[in-house]
Amino acid sequence: MIRPVLRLSLRWRVAAALGLGSFLITSVLAVATWNLASDYMLRQRLQGATRQAEVNVRLVDESLRSGSDGLTELLTGLTTDPDSTILLFQSGQVVTSGRQIHPDVLPAQLLTLGRDGVPARQRIRADGIPVLAVTQPIDTADGVYVELFPLVQIDRTFRFLSGLLIAGTVLSGLLGVALGWWASRRALRPLTELTGAASRIAGGDLKSRLPMHADPDLAPLAATFNATADALERRVMRDARFAGDVSHELRSPLTTMVNAAAVLRRRQAELPGTSGKALELLTSEVDRFARMVVDLMEITRDDQYGDGDAFEQLDVGDIVRNIAALRLTDSTEVVVDSPSPVVLGDRRRMDRVVGNLLENAERHAGGPVRVAVLHRDGKVRVEVDDAGPGVPEDLRTQVFERFTRGSRAGRRGSDTGSGLGLALVAEHVQRHHGKVWVEDRPGGGARFVVEIPEAQP
């Protein structure tokens, strides 16, 4: 068992690994690049500065040796860059040219080295800008020549370079994560498809299959899955067809039986006593049997031919009112929201749903006391209330299964229905992407509720 904190999905783990790897490689490369480039550029600058200072000091030296007065002009001419400075320490005096810098900012050690006749250089900050200070001894006058070269340009270049490298490293890390995410997604796509197809099959769509893959790694998976699904579909279809065939074959003898029974029932009065009682049993059972076969045919037909539905806009209020007018007494309250709710559905099935719910209430609970058609959050809700004994918690799913009559069977003795009425309701409602359930009615009894998505006008 992995601890939940560490429980990253495979996809994220691949993405993180790729991102980290990419980040590490680019950061090593960036550090190396930085070291090489900065070192090289700085060295170039140092050499250039030193060479120039040597040339300059020679000129100054000559000028001092010849004792001419043009020293100031010479110094001015030597400081070409506005940010550069030349300081000439000569027998206690300081001559400054170029950008004015106070001599105190120079490190004392640097000057001492110059006085001792040793050329030196050092990177310092002078009045806010980075400079390279180069010190040269002046032989003639026992002085020190100091030239400050501005490093603003190279500093800017370094900042730009380092920014670029950091950004590049971060970007490459992120790219690695993205690439890993994408690649693992691609690699896992067959798995996602598999999940989708499997859940569609679990949801009842037996025709769902995986697309065939040319990829040798994936082809066996798809082939195996599809073969399994094929077998499952064949099996389910065969079962459904069997039930369908059975009820189909029963139709002819049933026609004979139902009509012979009708003839007999008409003459029931002629058969008194035991024979009459037996005849009554026979005829009522034949009728029940006929209803059962008809319902069974309807259910197996649903299993077999799913796609031929003719969906149209149906006014549920009208459907309920029509059926109520035909089979309900005035004691049943009929409530229809205004405007009357409309669904997209198959008329025959919707009729059957409402009809079966009413029949169920009549058969098991002494008839419906209220039928309502309501709007509920984008759904059309049909409620059929009865004042019967209600449906116990543990039977509430079961009552919608085929041939489940539960403990209420036999309550009315003579007529228990086909045992398929509520199963048909469930089937038809599911076909309309709706839900059906039973709950307690406020004030006692059961409330059967159907919710179907409302049609968009």
Binding site: R251, S252, T255, T256, N259, A260, A262, V263, I323, L326
Partner: protein, 227 residues
């Protein structure tokens, strides 16, 4: 009213039981075991309605239906295995007026037959309705177009009269199914669709652009304006 029914089915026991039950309902029933037998009997005697099983040995039930329809407007009810099979549409297209599914029950069948044979009542005495270039005489059961008689089946005629009597108001599908075919509730709308299509073939100048029987989407049908 003594109504004679020709019962065409290849299953002898069904014929017998249904024959007995329909006799109980007050009909005179003759039986035929095949399409050939049925056509022979229809040649020699008149019947009010034919109950025709589509699954017959020999001449197919659909062919019998087509043949009967080409001879006249004798009401035909077909018996099919299931409501959703192509049989239903094929049978209606072949000219059947209505259909029932097995197991068919005599009392329900009797209601269907009576609805089919019901004539339009009402106190119209020799008045005619005029739509476009049609002249409809409800009492006599004839339709004239520009003086020439059109041959409609009884069901087609009743459908046309129901629409015409509404004088341009919308008649819903449910109303039509109830008034013409006698369905209490839930009638098969395919029944109506096929009949409307057949009616249009006969009364419209251009059935693709109907001017007499107009569809009102989502509501039903209405008759075109009188000219």
């Amino acid at each position: 009213m003594n109504v004679s029914v020709l019962l065409v089915d290849d299953d002898e026991r069904i014929r017998q039981a249904l024959g007995l039950a329909l006799t109980d309902e007050g009909f005179t029933v003759e039986e035929a075991e095949s399409g050939e037998d049925a056509l022979r009997q229809l040649d020699s005697a008149g019947f009010d309605v034919v109950l025709l099983d589509l699954m017959l040995p020999g001449v197919d039930g659909l062919d019998v239906c087509r043949m009967l329809r080409s001879r006249g407007d004798l009401p035909i009810i077909i018996v099919t295995a299931r409501t959703d099979t192509p049989d239903v549409i094929a049978g209606l297209e072949a000219g059947a007026d209505d259909y029932v599914t097995k197991p068919l029950i005599a009392s329900e069948l009797a209601a269907r037959i009576r609805a089919l044979l019901r004539r339009r009542g009402g106190g119209r005495q020799n008045t005619s309705l005029t739509i476009e270039d049609l002249e409809i005489w409800p009492d006599e059961g004839v339709v004239h177009r520009a003086g020439e008689e059109l041959y409609l089946t009884r069901t087609e005629f009743r459908l046309l009269v129901e629409l015409a009597a509404a004088e341009g108001r919308i008649v819903t599908r449910e109303q039509l199914l109830q008034r013409v075919w006698g369905y209490d509730y839930y009638g098969d709308t395919r029944l109506l669709d096929v009949h409307v299509r057949r009616l249009r073939m006969k009364v419209e100048r251009n059935p693709d652009q109907p001017a007499v029987v107009l569809t009102v989407r989502g509501a039903g049908y209405k008759i075109g304006p009188p000219r």
